[in-house]
Amino acid sequence: MGFEPIHGVHAVETVAFTVRQDRPIDISILQQSAVRKLWETELPAKQIPQLLETEMGPAGAVQKPVVSGLEFANLRQNGSPAWLLRFLGTDIVVECTRYTDWEKVSNRALRYIREALSALITADSNLKLSVIAMNVVDRFRYKGGDADYRSLLKAGSFLAVGPASKSPLWHQHSGWFEFWNGIPVLNQLNIDVQGTAGDSVVATLPDDASVRIQHLQEMRFVPQSASDFLCDTSGSIEATFSAYHIENLRLMSKLLSLDAAINVGLYQSSEENS
């Protein structure tokens, strides 16, 4: 008892891969692209999302023009997307909420991004990218019994003892930069112990409580030619996402207790090794 990963064998609730262009995506190129048919086969629920932006300034609120995007998704019975490919504004986002294993999920996500960039580059060879980001959300569900968060998390370089010791429901949001070859990589780590009943203050951990761990890694750089990132080099999109994955594993291994880390497959227990 205590806290268990939501999917039994792992705790990954969502993984989202984002690539940002230096200019708005021309949706018409993708609409006319041959690869659209393949996306429609794999992600049959197609929608046109819209972005509404309001800018607050000295003159009051200024409504910006509505930006239309394009979205392909594979939906669950309840309508939530298991896989989603979204083009909106400047961002290409692939979101997976049916995570099975890194190799399969990242390969599929990378394929969508490569296919999209290839189509966009063909129409505009000067296309540039300015951000590559990955967001991973892990969730552990409270299964009753031991409500001490220390059965799941360990205080250390990523978790301060303070908030976690004050009340059953708590959160700790933090952020920092790391530098990879001088390029800043924004890291955000948000840990929330939440109950679904609402945000009322409670004295004991509710039965429906869960621990949500969100880790965002976002590399921001001076816009560079998009085609450079599709080559088989250490600076490719693929290599960047692989590095994000390794850094996420490293962070989780420092954040989770030994038992929890074994439960989600970060380590093998000595019994399994023998």
């Binding site: 064998v9 019975q77 099975t100 399969k104």
Partner: protein, 256 residues
């Protein structure tokens, strides 16, 4: 599709279309009562007079004679027939769904699975002779739940229904018939996955609750299973955009 623009009622794959009522009439066909659609234990059903009645079509005769399960076999890509003694109207379900989708919603599940579920729901009582059960409500609910985890690129499986319990099996068989993968639903909120291989292999059968989405998806992502579900080679499974049938990826400009 052309049938929808015709002025006169026409027989659409054996089913008369009430065109005056517009495309929505197609939906009513799906909801039509299923009485008088059972022929009883006829062996040579194609010669039975009922088989020639408008709105009914039966393809093939008895495929599974002594077995406990009788087969429901998709005859064409978009048409079904009962290959045992039962009889269901041969409605072009996929086109019906497309018409509906164009007006109201985009498909959220694979079209093949849409067709499969609708067809199974339409199988009447005593479809394979007196005392035989149609697919049970519980088994159908389980098939529907798992259908959302099956690749949208999957081909239509062969369907078997247990005439005693109403359990449903979905079976994908390789063209050379040497390998097949089955998902078995007995209506107990579980799904069993198993693979039969004539050419060796050590696939380990599994049983999971139908709401164990990730665990089921993991097993359906197995390359052997994916190859059977999608009737593709391993290379096509690994890289769908490299498939000769797919639209293909535009060549990349060479970078640094």
């Amino acid at each position: 599709m052309n049938a929808l623009t015709a002025r006169e009622p026409i027989a659409w794959r054996g089913f008369p279309l009430p065109m005056s009522k517009g495309p929505n009439a197609l939906l009513s066909l799906l909801e039509a009562p299923t009485q008088d659609r059972t022929l009883g234990p006829q062996r040579q059903v194609e010669s039975h007079p009922t088989a020639r009645r408008p709105g009914y079509r039966l393809i093939g005769t008895r495929l599974v004679g002594a077995g406990r399960r009788a087969k429901l076999r998709p005859h064409y890509a978009d048409q079904f027939s009962v290959s045992d003694t039962g009889l269901v109207p041969a409605v072009n379900v996929s086109e019906t769904l497309i018409q509906n989708s164009a007006k109201t919603l985009s498909s959220t599940v694979p079209l093949a699975v849409d067709r499969l579920i609708i067809f199974l729901e339409r199988v009447p009582p005593e479809w394979a002779g007196p005392g035989t059960a149609p697919p049970s409500v519980e088994a159908l609910a389980d098939v529907l739940a798992v259908s959302y985890f099956i690749s949208p690129q999957s081909t239509m499986p062969e369907i078997e229904v247990d005439p005693d319990s109403g359990g449903v099996s979905l079976i994908w068989t390789r063209k050379d018939k040497r390998r097949s993968f089955a998902l078995i639903f007995d209506g107990d909120h579980r799904v069993v996955g198993t693979m039969a291989c004539l050419d060796g292999g050590n696939y380990k059968p599994w049983a999971l609750a139908v709401d164990q989405e990730v665990q089921i998806a993991m097993r359906l992502e197995d390359l052997d299973v994916m190859a059977l579900l999608t009737a593709q080679s391993f290379a096509q499974v690994i890289n769908p955009s490299a498939s000769s049938d797919s639209p293909g990826v535009i060549a990349l400009p060479t970078g640094k």
